[in-house]
């Protein structure tokens, strides 16, 4: 069984990266009775107040067999990387695109492969091939509050959207282990996992995780908290 990344690799300033080992506050799975696509799974992530958590990564213990490598785009808008978290698979590549009117200096010191690009407004980086599994923290050397994560996964992995949900479709029936990760999980805690059975007949399994997160490290600059 290959889990995603157990190893954390880079960090930008102000961030701590060893987030794989984290604690589950509450973990509950329930079978949903409603008929839907055969063999599908929805993973939900919420905080202790029940608010949905976006940018969490759910991984299932089935190796991903790519048809062809794909290219992913990480944009920069308003001094923010979009998306915050992107799942890729070994062999894929990523292009950084600057949609701001200011320069960015995108970089990582990840042992999985360091890179750095100065991007003028409107400019895109050459594609960066990502071949080794792990989490790569990406920063901007001009704006320390800019942070993004590339999760290079060998297994099937999905990112939760604004509604806190990640979907897996067309799953063959069987027993699955779901592992959850988020950049703001407290470091040094055990991995968050749960098992779920996806039935043979048309039902969407749901699995919910309640996560305790650290504050968002992307300090949005404010006149009362200048970032220098």
């Amino acid at each position: 069984m290959a889990t995603v990344v157990n190893d954390v690799v880079g960090s930008s300033r102000g961030l701590s990266m060893n987030h794989w080992r984290s604690r589950v506050l509450c973990l509950c799975a329930w079978g949903a009775a409603m008929a839907a696509h055969a063999g599908s799974l929805t993973v939900k992530m919420v905080d202790s107040q029940g608010h949905p958590i976006s940018d969490g990564v759910a991984t299932i213990d089935r190796a991903y067999q790519p048809s062809a490598p794909s290219t992913h785009y990480v944009d920069q808008k308003n001094e923010t990387f979009i998306p915050y978290v992107e799942v890729v698979h070994p062999g894929d590549s990523v292009v950084f695109r600057n949609s701001d009117s200011t320069r960015h200096h995108v970089y990582t010191f990840s042992p999985l492969g360091a890179f750095q690009f100065i991007l003028s407004p409107g400019e895109s980086s050459p594609p960066v091939a990502l071949n080794r599994a792990g989490v790569i923290a990406v920063g901007c050397n001009i704006h320390d509050h800019m942070i993004a994560y590339l999760v290079v996964a060998t297994d099937f992995a999905e990112v939760t959207t604004q509604n806190g949900q990640a979907h897996f479709d067309d799953l063959s029936p069987g027993h699955y282990t779901v592992t959850v990760w988020h950049p703001q999980l407290w470091p040094g805690r055990p991995p968050i996992r749960a098992a779920v059975d996806v039935p043979a007949e048309g039902a969407t399994q749901e699995l919910a995780f309640t996560l305790k997160l650290m504050p968002d490290p992307r300090h949005f600059v404010d006149r009362e908290h200048l970032d220098y």
Binding site: S11, H105, F109, N141, W186, E224, Y228
Partner: protein, 409 residues
């Protein structure tokens, strides 16, 4: 002298305007307040009162204004400057800080950078707003009031960061000049609590009673940021640890290496002494839920030797704990602090001491990103031998109320 000081600012402005508009940022604030002041004459008017405002009056005051500019000249090179405007007798426009930072990218966990210019030594954990203001209270703690009044490093600072898997470390070392009067105000006036920051170009007022005692005519002012005596470098070193979740701990040591026997003539009075000033400073901050906690402590000495082998040494210390509640637009904050100075001497005229406690409660409301309203009450209970020496009550309780409107850009 004044004109010469303008050149770096002009150079900064020219550099900024020659860039594309997108590569620089400007921020500013302007501040007006209604103040109910305590009886005692404020230190800002030559008294021994510990609050910024005194004289038992309730009236409107212009609180100050500042302009912050930062220009990314190249991806590695950042220029930053803050200029303030204050009314009153302290010098109207002054440079709070201004520096150039060279910080090349690093694709290892270590990253170094070098700053050169006029810097605030990294003492304060409160003052990260435009114009070195605090988002928590109007009045800075006693420690950071003094930092704002007399501490500025004109020189260079090397910073080395280690970005770890869990936490980050930050090491700084600085060599600086022009901070030889640092410590004067703690010795001749004692601690104070306010938000009047000195810029380069500002003059600080000496207590009138002390000036008269010297058979001079008040008011007297001195430049807190100058070199006195033989050429030398001061230094500070600081280490910070940044843990996950907004927690950090810092320790620093500062020594201006001034020659305590050195003095120089100055505009206001007879001789301005160099004060050998050394201190340890420690600070910590963390968040528990929506509450931000900040604590700082500072302990040090300042020494002059006006006559050979006759030292006057003032020991000063202070500590505070601040709790700020982050409730969106509303941000209440409460700070408690203690401060003291002690100048032992066999000569009764030289022997002085003070001690006191203060409580600051502030309620900040920020209905718009550009508008902040603050109500603050500050109560200082202090006992000072200096006041008794000049016929004032040794123990005084000052209570100052402020209602403040601040526009932010």
């Amino acid at each position: 002298m004044k004109v010469r000081r303008l050149y770096p600012m002009l150079a900064l402005l020219i550099a900024a305007t020659s860039l594309r508009a997108q590569d620089y940022v400007l921020h500013a604030y302007i501040d007006e307040r209604l103040v109910a002041a305590p009886d005692d004459t404020s230190w800002t008017n030559g008294g021994f009162g510990k609050t910024r405002y005194g004289g038992n009056q309730t009236q409107l005051h212009f609180g100050g204004a500042a302009l912050y500019g930062a220009a990314q000249i190249t991806p590695d090179l950042l220029a930053m400057g803050q200029v303030q405007y204050q009314t009153g007798d302290r010098g109207r426009v002054s440079l709070l800080e201004g520096w150039i930072r060279y910080r090349p990218v690093s694709t290892t966990p270590w990253r170094w950078s070098l700053r050169a210019g006029a810097l605030f030594p990294p003492v304060s954990m409160e003052n990260d707003g435009v114009g070195w203001t605090s988002p928590w209270t109007l009045s800075s703690s006693a420690i950071n009031t003094w930092t704002g009044e007399e501490l500025r490093a004109v020189g260079g600072e090397l910073e080395l960061e280690h970005r770890g898997e869990v936490s980050n470390w930050d090491f700084r070392a600085s060599l600086f000049r022009r901070d030889d009067p640092a410590g004067t105000v703690l010795a001749i006036r004692g601690w104070s609590i306010g938000d009047l920051v000195s810029g380069i170009g500002t003059r600080l007022r000496e207590p009138d009673a002390e000036v008269s005692e010297e058979d001079e005519t008040p008011p007297n002012y001195y430049d807190p940021f100058r070199s006195i005596g033989a050429s030398h470098w001061g230094d500070y070193v600081a280490v910070s640890w940044h843990a996950p979740g907004e927690t950090s701990v810092s320790v620093m040591h500062y020594d201006n290496h001034a020659d305590p026997g050195a003095s120089a003539p100055y505009a206001g009075g007879d001789e301005q002494y160099a004060w050998r000033t050394r201190f340890w400073s420690a600070g910590a901050r963390t968040d528990t839920g929506a509450i931000t906690w900040i604590a700082q402590a500072l302990d040090g000495y300042t020494t002059i030797e006006p006559i050979e082998d006759a030292y006057q040494r003032t020991h000063y210390r202070s500590a505070f704990l601040l709790a700020g509640w982050n409730r969106g637009a509303w941000r209440p904050a409460l700070r408690i602090e203690h401060f003291s100075t002690l100048t032992p001497s066999s000569d009764i005229d030289w022997s002085q001491s003070e001690h006191g406690n203060a409580v600051t409660g502030a309620l900040n409301w920020r209905p718009r990103s550009y508008l902040r309203l603050t109500a603050e009450v500050l109560r200082i209970d202090s006992t000072s031998t200096l006041r008794a020496e000049y016929g004032l009550p040794a123990r005084i309780i000052d209570t100052q109320l402020q209602l403040n409107v601040r526009l932010l850009y």
